[in-house]
Each structure stands twice: as C-alpha cells, then as structure tokens.
C-alpha cells in the first residue's frame, strides 16, 4: 500500500542517500546543530540542519523523471504521447486485445 507511511519511508531513503553523497565533502569537519565541532560528521549530525530540510524538498533534476511523460487513464486533458515506443504496457495491451479479436476469443 502506497500510504503516508510508505511515502515517508521513501522520502527518508532519498534524504539518506543525498546525505551520504555530501558527507565526503566535509573533509575539514563540521559544526552540528548543538554547536559541537565534529571532525568526521555522521548522518546524525545533519538532522535538523539546513541541508536536511533542503534535501527533503528538492525536486528532481534528472531528465528521465523530470520530463517523463506521465500516463493516467483518468487524466482529462490529452497530451502528446509516443505510443510507438517499446516497452509500454498500455500499448502491449491494445495489441494483445487486437490479437484476441482476430482469433475470436474476445
């Protein structure tokens, strides 16, 4: 179930991944939120920091997710969709139904 708990879990995974990526950039240490200087900052020292809040709200800049053509059967407005591209499930389904009709199964 993709409920609130699942979304929070996925957000935590993403934030952890982003924090892991920037930890190595603090080679000279860092002050945590309690004012303690840490030579080797851990993920715990980033909680509540400016970076932590920023990583929670960052939108993606990856091309495959930012400019992704999103499909929803309930969407009212029509928009361009490249149905000729391979690997689309809805197109497979249309072809499958065509074959079924040809053979008189459906």
């Amino acid at each position: 179930m993709r409920d609130r708990a699942w979304r929070r879990y996925k957000q935590d995974v993403k934030v952890l991944q982003r924090l892991h990526d920037i930890i190595c950039t603090y080679g000279y240490g860092r002050k945590d939120e309690n004012g303690v200087y840490l030579v080797n900052p851990s993920i715990k020292s980033f909680i509540g920091s400016e970076e932590y809040c920023r990583f929670k709200t960052y939108t993606t800049d990856k091309h495959d997710s930012r400019y992704k053509t999103k499909y929803s059967p309930n969407k009212k407005n029509s928009y361009y969709r490249d149905n000729n591209k391979d690997g689309r499930r809805e197109l497979d389904k249309v072809l499958f139904l065509k074959i079924l009709k040809e053979y008189g199964i459906k």
């Binding site: 935590d12 934030v15 952890l16 939120e33 309690n34 993920i43 715990k44 909680i47 509540g48 920091s49």
Partner: protein
Amino acid sequence: MELSNLIPSKSDDWNIKKGTLFYKKLQNIPMAKIDDEIVYVFLECSIPRIVIDLVRHLMKIGVEFYFLPPSWSHPATVIDNSVVIKHYFTSYSKDKFFIGFNKIGFDMMGNLVNWCKKEDCIPLIKENYNEINKRVQKTYYDWYVNKEVSSYSDDIREEFRTLYRDIQISMIL
C-alpha cells in the same frame, strides 16, 4: 520509575534500548535516561519539537528532570558542568526552544538553577551567561537596509538582557 512512562505519544518512533529512550528520525537519537530516580533529558537542538513534547509530558506527570547536552549520551564524553550550563543558555537563545518553552510555561532558568544547586556549581552560571549574552547582543551593520541587524530576534535579546537578574531571583527562591 520506568523509561516507558516517559514516552509522550503512541508513535512507533519512540524506542528504549540499553537504559536510554530514543526517538527515531532517520537514525535513533538519544532523548532521555534515568539516573537515581532523576530523569535526564538530552537537549537535542536538531529536533526541538520532540524535546518540547517530552518536557510537556514530564511536567504533566510531575517528575524531577534536568537537561544534559546530547554529547553526554556517549559514555566516553569528559564530564564538565560548564558545558551543561552553556548548552542550557545556547538552547534557550534558539527561537524554537524560546517560543516553545514559553508556550508550555516551562521555567528553563529555574531548572538550570536547581541543577546547579544539586551539582554545587552556581559560580559557573555567571561566566557562561556573559559568554552567551555577548554573542546574543552582537549586532552588525547591514549596508543594504542601512541599519544595525542581529541574527537573534528582538524578544530573545530583550530576555537575555535581564536574564541574569531572573536567575538571581530563582537562586534566592
């Protein structure tokens, strides 16, 4: 008294391990421990809302509690009372704690004085107060708006000007 009684909500994020109460936010953060029937709350500045909730709950159940810096949750930390007093002042100068504790009606400076009386370290208050007050009252000239600005809000600066007098009154009482 048990640690399970200190949990303020039914949330699954709270857990108890090795005699310490933890709150999970990405990782387990130590929140409180019990030593000689006295509750010690780790004053974690990274999650102020959770700390304020915990303090409100402790006030409600009426237990004696004091604050410690989060670094003291590590057994290898060198114990220094001056660090605790400084952490009290530093946390009180932060917006979220200042507003939150005033909202729930918690007397943080009274709590500090009680802790100092217990540990016999009242002379340390003055020197730490002077250090933090100097930082809070510091202003710099902003040429873009042509006026003196501070990184602390006016309410906090006003409070810190007369804070030592309040502490002295708490000492007498």
